[in-house]
């Protein structure tokens, strides 16, 4: 319990309006799902008295330390912090009629020179310069009349014209100025911000505030996206899986008394007091069968799923994995032989032998094959996890075969990369399979994944 109350005189120490701003900011954090309680807000205010609020870095860190209590929260905090205080500053500027100086006197800006300067600034990672150059670049484009008015489009256009590329895609290998992704992103953020500022100044009103798009938080699914991003999402999962089952081993109410050990221990005290000794609980180590759809309809998600598979392999000893499109194929060996994820995914696509003729998923055939070839190994301790969208391309779903599989296995789970809204829409036959699963989950954000991990770790299925 925090005993400090936010008395008016305490707030008076802060510049007028700041307290209100901060509370409004906290409101936005709450709207994005951070659990910011009153006690957190009080903490933040208390902390701000110890730290000079005029130091931007300290101010931000202080707020983060008191308000954002996990790494995920911190990421959202950063996004919101930037946006909120940018908007606040702009709104104030708008109210007071301040606008940025135009670089009219500069005449024509030489595009090549600008390009070189931008590259240099990005390569050196000089933040302030990047910002100035972003402004210049926007000016130059405004003059050429190429602005589309849509910020996202403009950013990409400017980037392309300036010829900014990341290391991976740079054509000339030995070029000194290959740019690393992080700094390039930074420059893009500046571009975006300056364009936004321009827009506000031009239209003289604030664009409506939108909640963070789900997209910002969704799993990185598009194959063109950096694989590292996928892996970062899985890294967290990996850590949890590594300790999976362990936390269940603590004292439990329903544990069995170990008579022998109790007797021995009681000798020490002659029976008074008698300390009950319990048998340690063995963690449940499930045998897991993972079936992963790698067809085109889930291309975006399968990359992610494969890396989940990859992570799972590190954490479970008894794990057999399969990929399927039209047919099913076991890839357990590929995972145990190869460490590198890229090699695995290419190996799977070359040797998997899962696409037969059409390349369209045939769930029905997959179940029949799985049932006849593998299902004999299933026993009540095994867990079957299916990763797929249940889109059969109009073919027979053979739900009975799936039901048989799920009867043999102890537990069956289905992870669907599509939001629940799209289930059973079009050729999705989720409803045919769902009743036979112990749980069917939509899985397109890390949070979904974590819920699922909790479940296979022996936790309870949360009511949604």
């Amino acid at each position: 319990m925090s005993t400090e109350a936010s008395e008016p005189d305490q707030l008076a120490a802060l510049p007028p309006g700041l307290a209100a701003r901060l509370i409004a900011f906290c409101e936005e954090l709450r709207a994005e799902g951070l659990s910011v309680g009153t006690s957190e807000i009080l903490d933040a205010f208390e902390a701000l008295e110890a730290v000079p609020w005029t130091e931007p870095a300290d101010f931000r860190e202080t707020m983060a330390a008191t308000l954002a209590k996990s790494q995920e929260d911190r990421r959202i905090f950063e996004l919101l912090f930037d946006r909120y205080f940018f908007r606040a500053a702009e709104a104030e500027a708008l109210r007071q009629g301040i606008s940025e100086q135009r670089h009219d006197g500069m005449g024509q800006i030489d595009l090549d020179e600008l390009r070189e300067a931008v590259r240099q600034a990005i390569a050196d990672g000089r933040d302030g310069e990047m910002r100035d150059l972003a402004r210049l670049a926007i000016e130059a484009f405004g003059r050429r009349g190429e602005g589309s008015g849509v910020i996202g489009v403009d950013v990409q256009r400017i980037r392309r014209t300036l010829g900014l590329q990341t290391q991976g895609r740079a054509q000339t290998e030995d070029e000194v100025l290959t740019l690393d992704r992080e700094s390039l992103n930074q420059f893009e953020r500046h571009l975006r911000r300056e364009l936004e500022r321009d827009l506000i100044e031009r239209t003289e009103r604030m664009p409506p505030s939108r909640p963070l798009a789900d997209l910002d938080r969704a799993l990185p699914t598009s194959p063109s996206q950096d694989l590292a991003a996928v892996h970062r999402a899985v890294a967290q999962l990996k850590r949890r899986l590594a300790t999976l089952g362990h936390e269940q081993r603590g004292r439990r109410r329903s544990s069995v008394v170990d008579v022998r050990r109790t007797m021995r221990a009681s000798l020490e005290t002659g029976g008074v007091p008698l300390r009950l000794k319990h048998r340690p609980r063995r963690p449940r180590r499930p045998e897991i069968y993972v079936l992963c759809d790698v067809s085109t309809s889930v291309t975006s998600a399968s990359m992610f799923f494969l890396s989940v598979l990859h992570a799972l392999h590190d954490s479970f000893r008894k794990l057999r994995s399969f990929v399927f499109i039209e047919r099913i194929s076991e890839v357990t060996d590929v995972f145990s032989d190869e460490r590198d994820f890229r090699a695995i995914s290419s190996k799977i696509s070359s040797e998997g032998g899962v696409a037969d003729v059409s390349g369209y998923t045939d769930y029905g055939r997959v179940w029949l094959e799985f049932l006849s070839e593998i299902s004999e190994d299933l026993d009540p301790r095994s867990t079957v996890i299916v990763l797929g969208d249940a889109r059969t391309n109009g073919r027979e779903p053979h739900a009975a075969a799936f039901a048989q599989v799920s009867r043999r296995a102890g537990r069956t789970f289905w992870l669907n990369p599509e939001p629940k809204l799209y289930w059973n829409y079009g050729d999705s036959v989720m409803s045919a399979y769902e009743p036979h699963c112990d749980g069917a989950f939509e899985c397109w954000t890390t949070r979904h994944l974590e819920t699922f991990v909790n479940v296979i770790a022996g936790g309870v299925v949360p009511a949604e």
Binding site: M1, S2, S35, G37, S39, E40, D43, E46, A47, A50, V51, A57, D58, E61, T62, A64, A65, T66, A68, K69, S70, Q71, R74, H231, Q236, R239, R240, A242, T243, H246, E247, R249, G250, R251, T269, V272, P273, D314, R339, D340, F341
Partner: protein
């Protein structure tokens, strides 16, 4: 060691930590400063080997406070963390008491043989409360880390290490200690902290901690340091190492961390590697040196293969490049 007064600014904390050999980054020093100013516990999360525990130790050295450490593990309970009654001693006390007792109270017993049990009772109850008060005194209390941290007259740094290893019940038990700095012992009453300890909780994030616990803490995420800072850290621990070599070493370590290895090398391992290179008298990290010493930073069989392949090849290529640049010598 005299206890230093509360620091005046973030820069002071940073300096004090640097003096005792911990190069804190911006957020670590800020949160340490806040922890001392506000008297709030700090929850430090981050990958293994980024110096979470070291931060607590450095804080203890920097402030001249004693460090009390509670290492958490599965099944840790309050008897190990808070306090425990020393029942052996209590038994002894009772036995010692009952041996004295017969001398004084055995006399009326034979006389009242018939209703002995009833008559003894009132007489006994007096000594019973006496004994009870006696055996539940502080003398018979075994203090465990948490109680010790709270009851010491001099302020301390309390490190609760790897809190994520315990179960949720234990976390709940911590709440009283962390928010009010007090412990209730049913037989003794509430023991309040005489001084406010600096509390550091570390977590490897292997499970989500409860909201209630997080709510009471300042949050600090420690990550692997930037190249520049890690260089400083390595140089602090082995200053004899050539600067160019240090940079090379740190860059290689960063390269390995960027790979998807099972156990990324920690800062401590960079330092170990630097020491090993010093001992070997290496003046550059080339393929040969790397292959020989790799096992210091990479500790998984499959990782060894991956790293040897990826980083080794890069070192080879760079070696050639260097030769080409330097020209014939």
């Amino acid at each position: 060691m005299g206890e230093t007064a509360a620091p005046d600014s973030v820069a002071d904390v940073r300096k004090a930590l640097a003096v005792v050999g911990y190069l804190a980054d911006e957020s670590a020093s800020l949160v340490s400063y806040l922890a001392q100013q506000l008297g709030k516990p700090v929850l430090v999360e981050g990958p293994a080997g980024v110096g979470k525990t070291e931060l607590a130790k450095a804080l203890s050295r920097a402030t001249g406070r004693e460090l009390i450490r509670l290492q958490c593990y599965e099944g840790l309970d309050e008897a190990k963390a808070l306090y425990e009654w020393n029942y052996r001693k209590q038994l002894l006390r009772i036995q010692a008491g009952s041996q004295q007792m017969p001398a004084t109270s055995s006399a009326p017993r034979p006389g009242a043989a018939g209703s002995g049990a009833d008559e003894v009772a009132p007489d006994d109850s007096g000594s019973w409360t006496e004994v009870q008060e006696d055996i539940f005194g502080e003398e018979f209390l075994l203090t465990r880390p948490l109680l010790r941290a709270i009851s010491t007259p001099t302020p301390v740094v309390l490190l609760i290490d790897e809190i994520d290893k315990t179960d949720q019940e234990f976390e709940a038990m911590l709440l009283e200690v962390l928010s009010d700095f007090q412990i209730s012992i049913p037989e003794l009453g509430v023991i309040e902290a005489r001084t406010r300890p600096i509390v550091v909780l570390t977590s490897n994030n292997s499970r989500e901690l409860t909201e209630a616990l997080k709510r009471r803490c300042l949050y600090l995420w420690l990550d692997y340091p930037e190249v520049e800072r890690e260089m400083e850290i390595v140089r602090l621990h082995s200053p004899e190492l050539d600067e160019k070599l240090t940079r090379r070493l740190v860059e290689v370590v960063h390269m390995i961390r960027a790979l998807d290895v099972k156990k990324p090398p920690s800062i401590a391992e960079s330092i170990d590697w630097a020491r090993a290179l010093l001992l070997l008298g290496a003046d550059d990290i080339d393929r040969d040196v790397f292959d020989k010493t790799m096992s210091i930073i990479v500790k998984h069989r499959s990782d060894l293969e991956l790293v040897a392949e990826r980083v080794g090849v890069k070192l080879d290529a760079e070696g050639k490049l260097d030769l080409g640049r330097a020209g014939p010598r």
